[in-house]
């Protein structure tokens, strides 16, 4: 080991330390933005290529072998129908489960088991949920493969853990004093929950649910497993029709041999999917901001 004695050495040492500090900071900053820079570049490419293809005709036409005639309409409608159903199923289920865990269970053993189970479920690969949907709804319950309701059931199970956790957080954020005020007025537990806890927690619950739905709308693998159609030429009529969804359709387009599909139709589809997701997220953020203002005011 080198022994530093002179003032010159000490200064050089301090300078080296500073330089190392600075270099490391730059390295950290670069790696932090690394993924973001690449993603922004990729999204820019996509938008540029989509620009020439994304028009009213694309939004209102069925898919086609000919790129200039291809459109996303049936898949767009399929995605919206499916997600609407998923929202309808997950919201009551997720809120009920969260209410039980936060308001009723106390610190019981079963509540602990359920909570650990939920965090485990959240880490199960989505394709495995597809197998669950295939095994239960299609094989055991004899529902038709690839219809909207089966897709919606499967996606519901997939995002349920996320919705429960978000709802739990929103319920936990309601101050305890509000509940006690309600009990003090003679309300029962359920009256307190319905009249006080749920209305205060609802914006938070809705925000979490919409964010989860925007994740569900981008899911492909579970839909493939339950047999969603790879291309379908008319929009689904009801919840028992076979359907395709936007991510399915994008997947099919990336499999097409012609360049117009890879560098035109598929980018246009990606832009539509991202736009739908973005507007859902924006709506969720809008809800949250409005709620925060209300609390302050």
């Amino acid at each position: 080991m080198k022994v530093l004695t002179g003032k010159k050495d000490r200064n050089r040492n301090r300078f080296n330390d500073k330089l190392k500090d600075r270099l490391f900071l730059i390295l950290c900053l670069l790696t932090t933005v690394f993924g973001l820079v690449i993603l922004s570049a990729l999204i820019t490419f996509t938008f540029v290529e989509a620009a020439a293809w994304l028009d009213w005709q694309f939004l209102t036409s069925p898919p086609s072998r000919f790129p200039e005639k291809a459109g996303i309409y049936p898949a767009l409608v399929g995605s919206i129908y499916t997600i609407a159903l998923v929202g309808l199923f997950t919201l009551p289920l997720g809120v009920s489960a969260a209410l039980f865990l936060e308001e009723y269970s106390g610190r019981s053993r079963i509540a602990k088991i359920i909570e650990i189970n939920i965090s485990n479920l959240a880490a199960v690969p989505s394709i495995v949920y597809g197998l669950l949907g295939l095994g239960i709804f299609v094989s055991k319950l004899n529902m038709k493969p690839g219809i909207i309701i089966v897709g919606a059931f499967t996606l519901t199970l997939l995002i349920l853990p996320v919705v429960i956790v978000a709802s739990q957080e929103a319920i936990r954020a309601v101050p305890y004093s509000l509940r006690e005020a309600s009990y003090g007025l003679g309300a029962t537990k359920w009256q307190t929950i319905r009249g006080i806890v749920l209305p205060s927690a609802m914006p938070g619950i809705l925000t979490g649910t919409i964010l989860a739905l925007s994740r569900a709308i981008g899911e492909t693998a579970p839909l493939i497993m339950i047999g969603a159609a790879s291309s379908i030429f008319s929009a689904p009529k009801d919840f028992f029709s076979p359907f395709s969804a936007m991510p399915m359709q994008i997947f099919v387009w990336t499999d097409m041999p012609r360049n117009e599909f890879l560098h035109g139709v598929a980018p246009a589809g990606v832009v539509v999917l991202l736009a739908v997701m973005l507007s859902m997220n924006a709506f969720a953020i809008f809800l949250r901001n409005r709620y925060q203002k209300k609390l302050r005011g």
Binding site: C28, T31, S126, R215, E219, M225, T254, V270, L274
Partner: protein, 299 residues
């Protein structure tokens, strides 16, 4: 009064059953996978499945050796970890040790966006933009390759590593850092000798969770890495330039072909699914254990 009590109790049970549904989902997954796998293993021996080196469910002679698929999955997992682990950890260090509150408030949600992009879109990015770019650097890379898939999967799991690691780093008390400075250490030294070792359990847990996510990733690897089961070796550079097939991609391939509910290919879906589920479950449990067992508790 009686009616009201009854109603209260009824509601409690209703809510309880909603919560119990999540436990039913877990059992549903396990039972579905196991029952259909049992039927699969009554036709294909364990040995053939877990030791077989050829995966060919449709082309005769059929063979159900899962090893090439496992190798493909491990390859992409390894490659994506090479990106996500350094980037995620350094991003966590930046956010927790350097960034001002304002910068953090922008960068943290921005990083989360990386995990929010649908995986099919990542697959599209890899196949349509990244691979052609790689072809300019390595002319002999094929249109489907493990490298492009690994890059996008790596980017996708950066936020998992960074956000959990950041939580671990922020939990390290300021006094420990100050003790380091008082001994004359500079910031880099404090970070690597004090902060990172103190938060190590959370950091390792984040790596394991990220890896588990990469193993289960489906669409990006299906689109970009191809559908060619090969017994690859991650240490062989040439294998990165060639098409491979992961477990999840094989499942998609079977799922897309119109298989009847009784065929052996259909049953093989569940055998692969069970293998995949077991791998991710074990990793998730290890991650949880590491986080809890080796956690430093500061007061």
């Amino acid at each position: 009064m009686k009616v009201r009590d009854l109603k209260e109790r009824l509601i409690k049970y209703l809510l309880f059953f909603s919560a119990l549904l999540t436990v039913a989902v877990t059992f549903g997954i396990i039972l579905t996978l196991i029952f259909d796998s049992i039927e699969f293993f009554s036709k294909v021996s364990f040995l053939e499945f877990f030791m077989g080196t050829r995966w060919s469910p449709t082309i005769k002679p059929v063979s159900f050796g899962v090893l090439p698929l496992v190798a493909g999955t491990l390859m992409v997992t390894f490659g994506s970890a090479m990106i996500a682990i350094p980037c995620g950890l350094l991003a966590a260090i930046y956010l927790s040790e350097y960034a001002s509150e304002g910068v953090r408030a922008i960068l943290k949600p921005a990083l989360e966006v990386l995990a929010g992009i649908p995986t099919v879109v990542y697959g599209f990015f890899a196949f349509v933009y990244i691979t052609p770019l790689l072809q300019k650097i390595f002319p002999d890379i094929s249109a489907y390759n493990a490298l492009a898939a690994s890059i996008v999967v790596g980017i996708m799991i950066i936020p998992i590593v960074s956000s959990i690691s950041e939580d671990a780093l922020r939990a390290v008390p300021k006094t420990l850092r100050e003790a380091g400075y008082a001994l004359g250490a500079n910031k880099v030294k404090v970070i690597w000798s004090i902060v990172v070792p103190s938060g190590l359990s959370g950091i390792v847990a984040s790596f394991i969770l990220g890896i588990s996510r990469a193993i289960g990733e489906t669409m990006a690897v299906t689109i970009a890495a191809g559908r060619l089961p090969r017994l690859v070796n991650p240490l062989n550079p040439a294998d990165w330039f060639e098409p491979i097939e992961t477990m999840t991609a094989a499942m998609v391939e079977i799922g897309m072909s119109d298989v009847s509910g009784q065929s052996i290919e259909y049953k093989s879906l569940f055998a692969i699914g069970l293998t995949l589920f077991a791998m991710t479950l074990i990793l998730n449990m290890v991650s949880y254990y590491v986080k809890m067992r080796f956690r430093e508790v500061y007061r």
